[in-house]
Amino acid sequence: MKSTQYTEKVMDHFRNPRNVGVIEDPDGYGKVGNPVCGDLMEIFIKVGKNDENKETIEDIKFRTFGCGSAVATSSMVTEMAMGKTLDEAYKITRNDVADELEGLPPIKMHCSNLAADALKAAIDNYRLGSDSEVEVEGHCKTIDIKVILGLDEFEGKGVYKNVDDLEDFRNKRTLIVDTGEESLELAMKLTEYTGRVILVTPSNKTPGNDDLKQKLKFSDVKILRESELIEVKGTTDVEQVIIHDLDEDERYELFVDSVIILE
């Protein structure tokens, strides 16, 4: 299925989005997504009371940066929530929104279907005064560092947990794991000693603060984004590593002479 194979209902909401805009001075505000990933949505709510004295969504508006399904799901969730009690609105799930739109292309189910989360964030913000910006799991991937096989076995045989003499790396194919700014600085310094410095980072963009990022981009460091080191291998010394491509969920081997993972 093409990622843009949308139902007529999705296209209708994309073409004629309902409730676009901003509520000045809202009772609740929620924001999810991140322009880096390609989706960012904001939801504003105004809370009122119905005849039974229950809190309801009296008005709701959204603004969205993103693809067709990002716009359509935002529009749809506002339509679904309008007039509902907060309790009812809070129960709207991503799947409810997708169902109401008569389905979304599979690839869009996770990445561009955040509107229900934005609504929840807005309601939480109203009820709890909580942080209105929410990190959503499974969107732009977050990674926990797992156990790397072979790390202890090859320490001193190509695996370095600290670096004293950069000369050790002259002309070596060196893989360095992104463990923070210190590792990024080191990666750049190493390029003066070897032409083959590979930085592995779980991030899907160039890591580091703005200054470092800029420097890294123009340095000779080869960056493997959205990747993690899983295993170090060799007969006596380090010969190769196994890299996990998080984006494609694929594993592959790389031939290297040394591995740096700063403690």
């Binding site: 322009p35 390609g38 940066f65 693809c67 067709g68 690839i107 981009k217 592959y252």
Partner: protein, 397 residues
């Protein structure tokens, strides 16, 4: 009226190419490998088409043209066939950061097979860094593959210098000429290419046929094995109607290219000038002058490419984007990222590719409709700064 500005993805078959092909489906159905009269006739046709394709790239010997099923197969034959043939001499291959996806995935495969791959970085305009390229060459380097021009941003590489460096170092040099095939003449006599991938559809011939130019003396291992056609380099019964169409398309393109590129350049420049002038926060991707005549690649702040494509579709304009949301991997275009764009910037990209049947009125339609579309999407984007919204609110649509 439909406005088609996605010629990089697919081109229609030229009317006279189609006419030339038709008899080969029924009356002239022979197999060039057969020994009877019908077969002999087919052989003459095959060799005549081969001459035309050779002539298109100024190849001295028609037999240096190997017919394949298209660009992807040509790239596979050149890289996998070349790497396997010469692996005794080394295991290092150089390519660039901005190659077409077919080259990228082939070298990924070769990497898994034990080859070492280096990718030459590019500058902000997408030009190869020649110094870094030279430094990557080692004793073990057996193959270099760099496209004449980028299929995405249209930047033209200093291909003469690159091929000269490859030649001086005696390394096999392959180029993927597909993106530039319809707007830059290829002369293998003048530029020392060892292998050139060609596609028929990219010069208005039928799909499903292509060729690899293989300089005399260069050998590659076959990747498709069978009855030994094409000197054993590419087996499989001849797709004669396709080959005939490819030959005719090459003949026409050779003749038409100078006037065609002149015309397209005019349209392209009109489009670029107008878009950059009338749309605030719009930028051109790729090189400002050294770019393919048919390529106009833009970037717009605060909006996302797939939305742009959908809105353009509504007004019957066909274009392409490098946004992640339009890709299968949800990754933005590697070419744009390699040029130093941030992810959030690459998402807002839009590519128009012009071609033989593009009219000035097509360009005018884009010039009129695009600003309105950008405005609509920006008005609902949380990223659009308030002063721009204010500006949009002040002017009537």
């Amino acid at each position: 009226m439909d406005v088609y500005l996605d010629y990089q993805s697919a081109k229609p078959v030229d009317e006279s190419v189609l006419k030339t092909m038709l008899p080969y489906f029924k009356q002239e159905f022979g197999n060039p490998s057969s020994l009877h009269k019908t077969g002999d006739k087919a052989t003459t046709t095959l060799e005549d088409a081969r001459k035309k394709v050779a002539n298109f790239i100024n190849a001295p010997n028609p037999e240096d043209i190997i017919f394949t099923s298209g660009a992807t197969e040509s790239n596979n034959l050149a890289l996998i066939g070349g790497a396997m043939r010469y692996k005794r001499n080394g295991n290092h291959i150089i390519t660039s950061e901005i190659e077409h996806i077919s080259i990228r995935n082939i070298v990924k495969y070769l990497q898994r097979e034990g080859f070492e791959i280096d990718k030459v970085p590019v500058d902000q305009f997408g030009k190869i860094n020649l110094e870094k390229f030279k430094r990557m060459i080692r004793d073990e380097t057996i193959l270099i593959s760099i496209a004449i021009a980028s299929n995405e941003i249209g930047t033209i590489q200093p291909i003469r210098e690159i091929s000269k460096i490859a030649q001086e170092n005696e390394i096999l040099f392959h180029t993927d000429a597909i993106a530039s095939e319809s707007s830059l003449p290829i002369d293998v006599h003048e530029v020392p290419f060892d292998m050139v991938s060609l596609s028929s559809n990219d010069i208005y011939g039928p799909k499903g046929i292509g060729a690899l130019y293989l300089k005399k003396g260069i050998r590659v291992n076959p990747v498709i094995i069978g009855g030994g056609q094409e000197k054993g380099i590419r087996s499989g019964s001849y797709n004669l109607h396709g080959i005939v169409g490819f030959g005719k398309a090459a003949e026409i393109m050779k003749k038409e290219m100078p006037s065609e590129t002149e015309r397209l350049k005019k349209y392209r420049d009109k489009l670029i000038e107008n878009v950059l002038e009338t749309i605030p926060n719009s930028y051109l991707n790729g090189h400002p002058s050294e770019r393919l005549a048919h390529n106009a690649h833009f970037r717009f702040d605060y909006i996302e490419g797939e939305s742009l494509i959908l809105d353009l579709k509504e007004v019957n304009i066909a274009a392409a984007t490098g946004s992640a949301c339009s890709s299968k991997t949800l990754e933005p275009s590697h070419t744009l990222i390699s040029c130093g764009l941030l992810h959030e910037e690459a998402h807002g990209s839009l590519l128009f590719t012009l071609g033989r049947y593009t009219k000035e009125s097509d360009i005018d339609a884009v010039i009129v409709k695009l600003p309105k579309i950008i405005r609509r999407l920006r008005m609902m984007s949380p990223l659009t700064p308030p002063d721009l919204i204010k500006k949009y609110n002040e002017v009537k649509e």
